[in-house]
Amino acid sequence: MRRGIRVLALASVLAAVGVASGAVPSYPDVVPGNALNFPADEGAHPPFRTEWWYVTGWLKTAAGAPLGFQVTFFRTRPDVDAANPSAFAARELVIAHAALSDPAAPRAKHAERIARAVFGLARAAVGRTDVTLGDWQLVSSGALFATRVKADDFAFELTLRRRGPVLLNGQGGFSRKGPAETSASWYYSIPGLAVTGALTRNGRPEPVTGEAWLDHEWSSAYLDPESVGWDWLGLNLDDGGALMAFRIRDAKGQARWAGGSLRSPDGRVLILEPGEVDFVAGRTWRSPHTGIRWPVEWRVRARSLEFGLRPLLDDQESDSRLTTGAVYWEGAVTAMGPAGRLGRGYLELTGYGEPLKLR
C-alpha cells in the first residue's frame, strides 16, 4: 500500500504547476483485465505516475533481541514539461525511506533520500527489480533480493530469499482503492521472505536474521478526493500463511473502502471483500514530536480471523514532510489471537495529522 497518498499529494501539486508549461504528460489508467507478467512486472513501470517497492520485517540479533525495519523505494513521474531537453529535467524522481525500530530505544530511527533519476545516479530499472538512489539500493537476482541502506546513524545490508510464490492482490493484481472504478493500483506482495545480513549501529556491524514482506504497487490515480488516509497491515503468520488487509478512511474516520488477501499455509488465497475487513482502534499514543494522536493498538477482523495488534514500540512515527510532505506511523506489530501469537508484521497509518490533501 504505502506512500501512495504522499506521492499523490505531490503529484497533484505537480499537476497544478505543469498546466502552465505546455506539454503535460498523460498517465495510463489502471484497468482490470491485463494479466501481470513476471519477472518483467517486478521492474519499474515508468509511464505510471507513482510506484513503490516496500520492504518491512522483523530482525533478530545474535543476542536474540527483536528489531523492526523497513525500506521503501519509490519512483514518481512529475508533471514536468516533457519538451525540456535538459539532462537534469526532473522527468522521474526516486525517493527512499528507511527506518529501524529498537524496543530498547525511545524511538525508531529514520532516514530518507530523494533524487531525480539522472545520469544513472538514481534510477528505477525496467524489467526487473533494480532501484538505486546513490548508495541505497534494492535489486533482485533469481530467488534473492538484496537491499542496502546507509543512513547517518544506522545502515544495513540484507539478503531476502523468496520462500513462496508471488501473492497477487485484488483481481489478479488489480486492486481497487475506493468506490470509484478509477482509483485502483496494480499490486502484488511477496510475503515470508527469509532475511540474513548485517546491521550497523553506532559504527558497529552485527549479523542479523529475520523475516520480511515486500509490496510492489503502481498506479496513476490512487485515492479519490474524499479519502484522507488509510490503515494497512502486512502479517507473516506463524503457521506459514500471510495476511494483507487495508482500509481507506474518509474525513470522519469511517471506512470508504477495504480489502485484503489471506494466504493459508497450503498456498490457497482468499481475496477479502470490503465487508470482510474491520479495523477497530484501541489504545492511542500522542506523539510529542507532532502532537498527532495515533491509535497504536488495534482489533482487526479479516473474514473469520480476529486478533489484536500490539506495537513493538509506541514511537514509530515518521515525519517525512521534508521529502513527501506527510507524517505517518509505521511500525513493527505483533498479532495476538485468543490462543496466543498469530504472527508478526508491519502496520502503516496515514492521514491522522492534517488531512492528506496537503499543501
Binding site: V17, A87, A90, T323
Partner: protein, 835 residues
C-alpha cells in the same frame, strides 16, 4: 604624607588645571574623538561589508568541503556524474549560476540547483525549498531571496519579466525566502528548468561537494581530472575573491583615519608638553611636598588617559553614527563600487567598539608619557626657581634617530605586499613620518639660520624669538608637519591618479558611441547579424563587436575579464600599452594583458598563459602589458578570430560605434533602440558622457579622502593655535616689557602674526618636502599593490602652493587670535607676573 593623600594633592592640582582651560581641554578631546570616530566608522563600514559579503558567500557555498568551480563560463555537465560516483563524495550538488537580464534593466543572479542535493549542503537557503520542491519543478518557476523581492518589488505569486535574447518572458515567483536565508538579491530555479529556460543546456557552473569523513579535500581535489576552466576551490577562496579588492580600498581609508588619530595624539603631546612646562612650578612643589617622581609621571599620564577616555568614548559613538548613516546611504563601499549597495546592515561587535575606546586612551596616555617623564625628571629646587624649558624633541640624538628612520622607511618601501595588502608601504610611511618629525628641530634651525635678518624690528624680534625657542616651537611645528605632509602626499597621489585616469579615458575610448546589452548578463547577447544591422544604420560609419567574458584563472581570485575583439596593428597601437614585445613568437596567438594580470599572475612580456576557452586550455603568449583602470582584477585582450575559432562562440556583449561626421548620436541611438528591440537591456552611451560619468564616479570615490584630509589639517592647525596660546601666556612678561619699551598693541599683534606665519611657512615648506617623499610611496607602492595599476607621478603644483599659502595665513591668524587674551592685560601687571 600618605601615598593616598599625595595622590589626592596631585589630582587636585591637575583638576584645577583641567578646570582652568576648558576650551583647550574640549578641543584636545575633540581631536582625539575625531581621529577615533574616523577609524571607527571606516572599520565598521568595512567590517559590515565584509560581514555581509562573507555571510552571502558562506550561505551559498560555506558548508561545502570543496567546490569545483567553472566560473561563469562553467563546464560540461558530464563532469557531474563522474564526480558524484566517486566513493569519497557524500553529496555532490550541481549548480548553474547565471546573470539573468531583467526586462526592466539590470540583472539578477539566478542559481539553478537540485533542491534535494543543495538542501543537504545548505539547508539555510534550500532546506525549505526541498520540503516544497514540487512547485519549483515548473519550467518558469523561480524563488526569490527577500532582498531580491524587495529590490524588484515582487512577491509570492507575482511574475518577473526577464529578457532572454530578443524575447521577454515571464517567470512565476512561487515563493520568497526568509531574509535570514540569504542577505543579497538572488533567484533560485530548478536546475533542469534553469538549463532550459535560461538557454544554458549542458552547462554547469560549479559542483559543491561534501566529502566522506576522513577524506582530505586537497588530496581528493588533486586526484580529479578536471576540464579546462574548472578549478578546485575552498569556501574561503570564494570569500577571498570579493574581499581582496574591497580590503585594499578600506586599508587605504583606515590609513587615513589613523593619520587623523595620529595627529590627534600629537596634539595631546603638544598640549601636555606645553602645559606641563607651564606647570613646572606646581609639579616641583608637589615633589617638594614628597610626591615621588613616578607619581608625578603617573599623574600626568593619567591626565592624558582621561582626555583619551573622553575622546575615545565620544569618538566611538560618533563613528558608530557615521558608519550607520554611510551604510544606509551609500552601502558597504561608500559609493566606490566594490561591495553591495545601500542597505548593508551595520555589524558593530562590542569588542571592536571597546577596542577603539582603549585605543583613544592608549594614544593619549602615550602622548602624555614623554612630557610627564620630562617634568618629573626636573630637580624640584631648580624648577621652582623657573627656567630651563628643555624639550624632548630637541635632543641631539633625535636628529640621528630621525635620519635612521628615514633610511629604514625608504628601504622598507621596496618590500613586496603581504597577504595582498601594501603593509610594508604603510610601515614605510609611518617610519618616514616619524623620522621627519624627529628632524623637525634640525630643519627649523637650519632654515632659521639662513633667513635674512634685515626685516625691521618686529620681523627681527619674531625671528629671534623662534631662533631662541626652536625646541619649543618644534612641537607645534611637528603637529603641522604631520598633518600637512600627509595631506600633501594624498593630494599628489589623488592628482596623479586622476590625471592618469583622465588621459587613459581619452585613449581607451576611441569610438563615438558605446553599446552594451544587459551588462554582465548571460542571457542577452548580440549576434553578428545585429552587428551588420548596427553598421547599416544611417550615420554609422563602422561598428566593432566585442565579447567580454569572465574567466577564472585562480580559485582564490576574482575572474579576469577576457575581451575578444579585433586586434589589428592599428587597434593595438591605440592601446595604452606600457610594455610591448619587440617580436612575438609566431606559433602562439598573442594576448595583451592589463597590469593587474601582470602583478597577480606573475606574467610578463613573452610569458605563456593557458586560457580556458571552449572547454580546453589554450596556450597564448603575452605580447603587451597595458593599463586598465576599469578592472582591477585583470583584463586580457585576445583577437576575436582566435577566440571564435576556439570557442565557436560568435556572440558579443558590447559594440563600439564610429559615427560619420555630422551624424547625430541621438538619432543613431533612437534607430538602434528601434532595430535591436532589446528594451531596457540596451545601454547606449556617448563617449563624452562616458568620460564625464567616469570622472564623476572617480571623484565620488575620493570624496571621503578629501574629507579626511581636511580634518587632518584642521587638527594640525588647532595644534598651532594651542602652541601659540601657551607660549603667548608664557610670554606675558616679555610682552609687558615690550609694551613698556613703546611697542603698540598692534605691533605686538603683528609680532605674533609674524611668528605664526613663520612657523606656518616652516611647516608648509617642510610638509611639502616630506609629503612629496610620502607621495612617492603612495603612488609607487601603496596604490600599485592595492589596485595593481600604475600611475604617472604628477604634482599639482598650483593647488599645493595655494594650500601652503592658506596654511601660512591660517597659522598667522591662529597665532594672533590665540594671543588675544594675553595682549589685553595691563602692561604693568603683565611685566610683574612670573610664570
Amino acid at each position: 604624607m600618605s601615598g593616598f593623600a599625595r595622590a589626592r594633592v596631585a589630582f587636585t592640582v591637575l583638576a584645577a588645571q583641567l578646570q582652568d582651560r576648558p576650551e583647550r581641554l574640549l578641543v584636545t578631546i575633540g581631536a582625539i574623538a575625531l581621529g577615533i570616530a574616523l577609524s571607527v566608522s571606516v572599520t565598521l563600514v568595512n567590517a559590515s561589508a565584509a560581514d555581509e559579503f562573507g555571510r552571502a558567500s558562506r550561505a551559498l557555498t560555506g558548508s561545502a568541503d570543496l567546490v569545483i568551480d567553472g566560473g561563469r563560463g562553467g563546464f560540461d555537465e558530464a563532469l557531474y556524474p563522474s564526480v558524484a560516483r566517486r566513493p569519497e563524495v557524500t553529496v555532490a550538488s550541481p549548480v548553474l549560476e547565471t546573470e539573468l537580464a531583467l526586462a526592466a534593466g539590470g540583472t539578477l543572479m539566478v542559481l539553478g540547483v537540485d533542491p534535494f542535493l543543495a538542501g543537504r549542503l545548505e539547508p539555510a537557503i534550500y532546506g525549505d525549498l526541498a520540503s516544497h520542491f514540487t512547485g519549483l519543478l515548473g519550467a518558469r518557476a523561480i524563488v526569490l531571496s527577500a532582498a531580491a523581492a524587495t529590490t524588484l518589488n515582487v512577491g509570492r505569486g507575482g511574475t518577473l519579466r526577464v529578457r532572454l535574447g530578443r524575447e521577454e518572458r515571464l517567470l512565476e515567483v512561487i515563493d520568497v525566502l526568509p531574509s535570514s536565508a540569504y542577505p543579497r538579491p538572488l533567484g533560485v530555479m530548478d536546475l533542469g528548468s534553469a538549463q532550459w529556460t535560461l538557454l544554458r543546456l549542458g552547462r554547469l557552473s560549479r559542483l559543491e561537494l561534501r566529502l566522506a569523513p576522513g577524506v582530505d579535500p586537497a588530496r581528493f581535489g588533486a586526484s580529479l581530472a578536471l576540464p579546462a576552466g574548472a578549478l578546485i576551490a575552498r569556501g574561503t577562496d570564494l570569500e577571498g575573491r570579493g574581499a581582496s579588492l574591497r580590503r585594499a580600498y578600506y586599508a587605504n581609508l583606515d590609513m587615513l583615519a589613523l593619520v587623523a588619530l595620529l595627529t590627534g595624539g600629537f596634539l595631546v603631546f603638544a598640549t601636555q608638553a606645553l602645559s606641563t612646562l607651564r606647570r613646572r612650578a606646581q609639579f616641583a612643589l608637589l615633589r617638594a611636598l614628597g610626591v615621588t617622581r613616578a607619581e608625578v609621571t603617573l599623574a600626568v599620564v593619567l591626565e592624558g588617559a582621561l582626555v583619551g577616555l573622553a575622546g575615545g568614548i565620544l569618538g566611538t559613538a560618533l563613528g558608530w553614527v557615521i558608519a550607520r548613516e554611510a551604510l544606509a546611504r551609500f552601502g558597504g563601499d561608500l559609493g566606490a563600487g566594490y561591495a553591495a549597495g545601500p542597505g548593508t546592515p551595520l555589524a558593530a561587535p562590542a569588542t571592536t567598539l571597546v577596542a577603539f575606546v582603549a585605543l583613544g586612551v592608549l594614544v593619549s596616555a602615550l602622548s602624555s608619557w614623554l612630557p610627564a617623564r620630562r617634568v618629573a625628571a626636573l630637580a624640584p629646587a631648580r624648577a621652582l626657581k623657573g627656567g630651563d624649558p628643555e624639550f624632548a624633541l630637541a635632543t641631539s640624538s633625535g636628529g640621528r634617530r630621525g635620519a635612521g628612520l628615514l633610511i629604514a622607511g625608504g628601504a622598507i618601501a621596496f618590500a613586496p605586499p603581504l597577504g595582498g595588502l601594501p603593509l610594508a608601504g604603510y610601515l614605510s610611511i609611518a617610519l618616514l613620518l616619524f623620522g621627519a618629525v624627529l628632524l623637525v628641530p634640525s630643519f627649523a634651525r637650519l632654515v632659521l639660520a639662513h633667513l635674512p635678518t634685515r626685516v625691521g624690528p618686529i620681523g627681527r624680534l619674531a625671528l629671534a624669538q623662534l631662533q631662541g625657542t626652536v625646541a619649543e616651537s618644534a612641537v607645534s611645528l611637528a603637529a603641522i608637519v604631520v598633518s600637512f605632509s600627509l595631506m600633501v602626499s594624498m593630494a599628489i597621489m589623488v592628482h596623479s591618479f586622476r590625471d592618469s585616469f583622465e588621459r587613459w579615458l581619452g585613449g581607451v575610448l576611441p569610438a563615438d558611441v558605446y553599446l552594451r546589452v544587459a551588462p554582465g548578463s548571460d542571457t542577452v547577447l548580440l549576434s553578428d547579424a545585429d552587428g551588420r544591422d548596427i553598421a547599416a544604420i544611417p550615420g554609422v560609419e563602422r561598428a566593432e563587436l566585442r565579447r567580454v567574458l569572465p574567466v577564472l584563472l585562480a580559485p582564490d581570485r576574482p575572474a579576469v575579464a577576457l575581451i575578444a575583439r579585433r586586434l589589428d596593428a592599428v587597434s593595438v597601437d591605440r592601446l595604452p600599452l606600457l610594455e610591448r614585445a619587440s617580436a612575438t613568437p609566431a606559433d602562439l596567438p598573442a594576448v595583451y594583458v592589463s597590469e593587474a594580470v601582470h602583478d597577480l599572475y606573475r606574467v610578463g612580456i613573452g610569458s605563456r598563459l593557458t586560457l580556458p576557452v571552449g572547454g580546453q586550455g589554450r596556450a597564448v603568449v603575452v605580447a603587451g602589458i597595458w593599463r586598465d583602470y576599469a578592472r582591477s582584477s585583470g583584463t586580457i585582450l585576445i583577437e576575436q578570430g582566435t577566440y571564435r575559432a576556439w570557442s565557436h562562440d560568435v556572440a558579443s556583449t558590447d559594440a563600439a560605434l564610429w559615427l560619420k561626421s555630422g551624424a547625430s548620436a541621438a538619432l543613431v541611438g533612437a534607430e538602434l533602440t528601434r532595430r535591436l528591440k532589446l528594451g531596457a537591456s540596451l545601454e547606449l552611451i556617448e563617449t563624452s558622457d562616458l568620460k564625464a560619468r567616469s570622472l564623476t564616479a572617480f571623484d565620488r570615490a575620493f570624496t571621503i579622502t578629501y574629507l579626511l584630509e581636511a580634518i587632518a589639517v584642521a587638527i594640525g592647525l588647532a595644534g598651532v593655535g594651542f602652541a601659540f596660546a601657551s607660549t603667548a601666556l608664557a610670554r606675558r612678561a616679555e610682552f609687558g616689557v615690550l609694551r613698556h619699551l613703546g611697542c603698540s598693541a598692534r605691533q605686538l599683534k603683528r609680532l605674533l602674526a609674524g611668528e605664526g606665519a613663520l612657523v606656518g611657512a616652516l611647516g608648509a615648506l617642510y610638509g611639502l618636502l616630506v609629503g612629496g617623499l610620502l607621495s612617492l610611496v603612495l603612488v609607487y607602492v601603496v596604490n600599485r599593490q592595492s589596485f595593481h595599476w600604475s600611475l604617472d607621478f604628477v604634482v599639482p603644483v598650483g593647488q599645493l602652493l595655494l594650500v601652503a599659502l592658506a596654511l601660512v595665513l591660517a597659522a598667522a591668524t591662529t597665532a594672533r587670535l590665540a594671543a588675544r587674551g594675553v595682549l589685553g592685560t595691563s602692561a604693568v601687571r603683565a611685566a610683574r607676573e612670573d610664570w
